[in-house]
């Protein structure tokens, strides 16, 4: 009996959710400047441009009204395992005594917004959607010892200092009532892998529509060859490193022979 009731409830809620989406009757048409960021020997970061348009839902026939829309773009990098450690000076020596490993932690997390987050919607909504840098450590499993909440805060701070986490208020600019664009500078230490860019459309404090795109950051040419051979044939790679070192040392000796 209870099972049937809860199922009914779910059904009703789903229908309500569907209705509310339909009521908004807007969708996002979004794109980004490149789907592959190539990393070569002179790579020193790259700027990506996101752009899009707020459009009426297909078939709804209701034109986009008002100019109180807000866009939030979340760019997230591949998941990695991060460890954060804390030094304490208990025994007269400063040692790492606390450490936590965050498994599946986003290696890159940047928010671009058209207004300060507080003006767009309630903070609890962003938090629930995992849309804040500070909510990331709470969303991934962690193992280890030490105070979880303080280590999590420090991890976010360290990521922000490395330019890998952050929020850019007014990073999204409306070119017209419905057309927006945003640019994001990927730093030179950007992790390699697959990224997702989620675009969220907010109106009057509510999430109206969203759209997901992806792009990848990958090495090309010589850098790609080095990266893949170091992983696929490590022993050969190691011997090549030694041979290169011996050759370089020998060549130096020959050139500078006195």
């Amino acid at each position: 009996m209870t099972i049937t009731l809860s199922r009914l409830l779910v059904l009703v809620l789903t229908m309500l959710a569907g209705l509310s989406t339909a009521a908004h009757a807007q969708r996002l048409a979004a794109a980004l400047s490149s789907i592959t960021v190539s990393v070569d020997s002179s790579f020193a970061g790259e700027t990506l441009t996101f752009f899009g348009n707020i459009e009426p839902e297909i078939g709804s026939g209701v034109p986009v009204e008002g100019n109180d829309y807000n866009i939030v773009i979340l760019v997230q990098g591949p998941a990695i395992n991060r460890v954060v450690r804390r030094k304490t000076g208990d025994l007269g020596l400063w040692l790492n005594t606390e450490q936590r490993v965050y498994e599946g932690f986003p290696s890159y997390f940047w928010l671009l917004t058209s207004s300060p987050l507080g003006d767009i919607a309630d903070n609890s909504l962003f938090d629930a959607e995992g849309l804040l840098p500070s909510s990331q450590p709470l969303l991934v499993p962690s193992t280890g010892n030490g105070d979880l909440s303080s280590l999590s805060q420090e991890l976010v701070r360290l990521m922000e200092e490395s330019d890998l986490y952050g929020v850019h208020d007014h990073g999204v600019i409306f070119r017209s009532r419905t057309l927006y664009s945003a640019s994001l500078s990927l730093p030179a230490n950007v992790p390699n892998g697959n990224f997702t860019a989620k675009t969220f459309l907010f109106r009057a404090g509510a999430l109206v529509a969203q759209n997901t795109q992806s792009f990848s950051v990958r090495k090309t040419g010589f850098e790609r060859l080095v990266g893949s051979s170091a992983k696929s044939m490590p022993i050969v790679y190691g011997f090549i490193c030694v041979l290169l070192a011996v050759f370089t040392g020998w060549l130096g000796g020959v050139i500078f022979k006195r």
Binding site: N96, V242, A245, G249, F256
Partner: protein, 310 residues
């Protein structure tokens, strides 16, 4: 000019890398040390992840020692007979060091052991060398004639059994201390990620009484062999050897080492030892400071390779 390092996955100034390599290479040619104990902390300070810095420096040390060893070989400054005994024992020691490395990592105390070892070994070796060299310099200044080979210098080590004649070193000494020294350096080198020249050179001088004209060349052979083995081990176990980073450092250090080796000929042995002692002591003090004083940021983060637990 920025250059992107494919394994470290960040970009660094090319001239900085070659310059740092050159400076450390000069010292390595001058003193017959690999320079790893200087270069690794410098790279980590630049922002290169610690595993990549440690692993890539081993590659650089191979190049620097090859270049230095060649230069001593031309001057007949290597005792190959002695070197073979050291290298064979050293490779056995390196296997022990690698096992200790993974055991300590399981216990979560690797950082601690490395820091304390740096302070203890660099501090004691540097301190001993400094006092010995200072005393020798003062006596020379006071007009006392100091000969390179002192009479009655034989110590208890020379009374051990299984003696072997090392012609080039003019030594007739037991093989046991030779093997023990070689194995210890191999163990420490692979555990601490250093060539160990700064420990090996004083050990050969003070324990075995290897003459000054072959001690550096012979130690370079040992460092070369141990670091070549470590490079392959690092490439296999952690895949963190950045060949481009290592190459930039190599080019700088090979050039620097040539100047260092020739500059070394204009300095007397005790002067060289005093200078090396000061550098070794400075690094030991630097590590002691990080252990004893509150860091500006007690928190640090690192990336763990997939599948590596605590």
């Amino acid at each position: 000019m920025q250059i992107y390092l494919p394994i470290a996955e960040l970009s660094v100034n090319l001239f900085f890398l070659v310059g740092v390599g050159g400076a450390v290479g000069f010292l390595s040619g001058l003193f017959g040390i690999g320079g790893g104990f200087l270069l690794t902390p410098l790279l980590i300070f630049t922002g290169i992840p610690a595993p990549v810095a440690v692993a890539s420096v081993t590659g650089q040390v191979v190049a620097a020692s090859t270049s230095g060893a060649l230069s001593y070989w031309r001057r007949d400054g290597i005792d190959f007979h002695l070197a073979i005994y050291l290298v064979i024992a050293g490779i056995f020691g390196a296997f022990g060091g690698v096992s200790a490395f993974s055991w300590l990592r399981q216990l979560g105390q690797l950082d601690l052991v490395i820091s304390i070892s740096y302070v203890v070994f660099l501090g004691s070796v540097g301190g001993l060398m400094f006092f010995e060299a200072a005393r020798s310099l003062l006596r020379r200044r006071a007009g006392v004639v100091v000969r390179d080979k002192l009479p009655g210098q034989h110590n208890w080590i020379h009374g051990l059994p299984l003696r072997i004649r090392f012609k080039r070193s003019k030594l007739y000494v037991s093989v046991l201390p030779v093997l023990l020294i070689g194995a210890s350096i191999g163990f420490l080198g692979s555990l601490l990620g250093i060539g160990g020249g700064f420990i090996l050179v004083p050990a050969l001088i003070y324990l075995l009484r290897v003459p000054g004209n072959v001690v550096i060349g012979t130690s370079l052979i040992q460092v070369l062999a141990i670091m070549a083995a470590s490079t392959v081990l690092h490439a296999y176990s952690s895949q963190s050897v950045d060949i481009l980073l290592a190459f930039c450092l190599m080019v700088g250090s090979v050039i620097g080492a040539q100047f260092g080796a020739s500059a070394g000929q204009y300095l007397r042995g005790d002067q060289l030892r005093a200078l090396l002692a000061i550098i070794v002591l400075a690094v030991a003090i630097r590590f002691a400071v990080t252990l004893l004083f509150a860091p500006s940021d007690p928190f640090s983060m690192a990336t763990l390779a997939a599948g590596v637990g605590l």
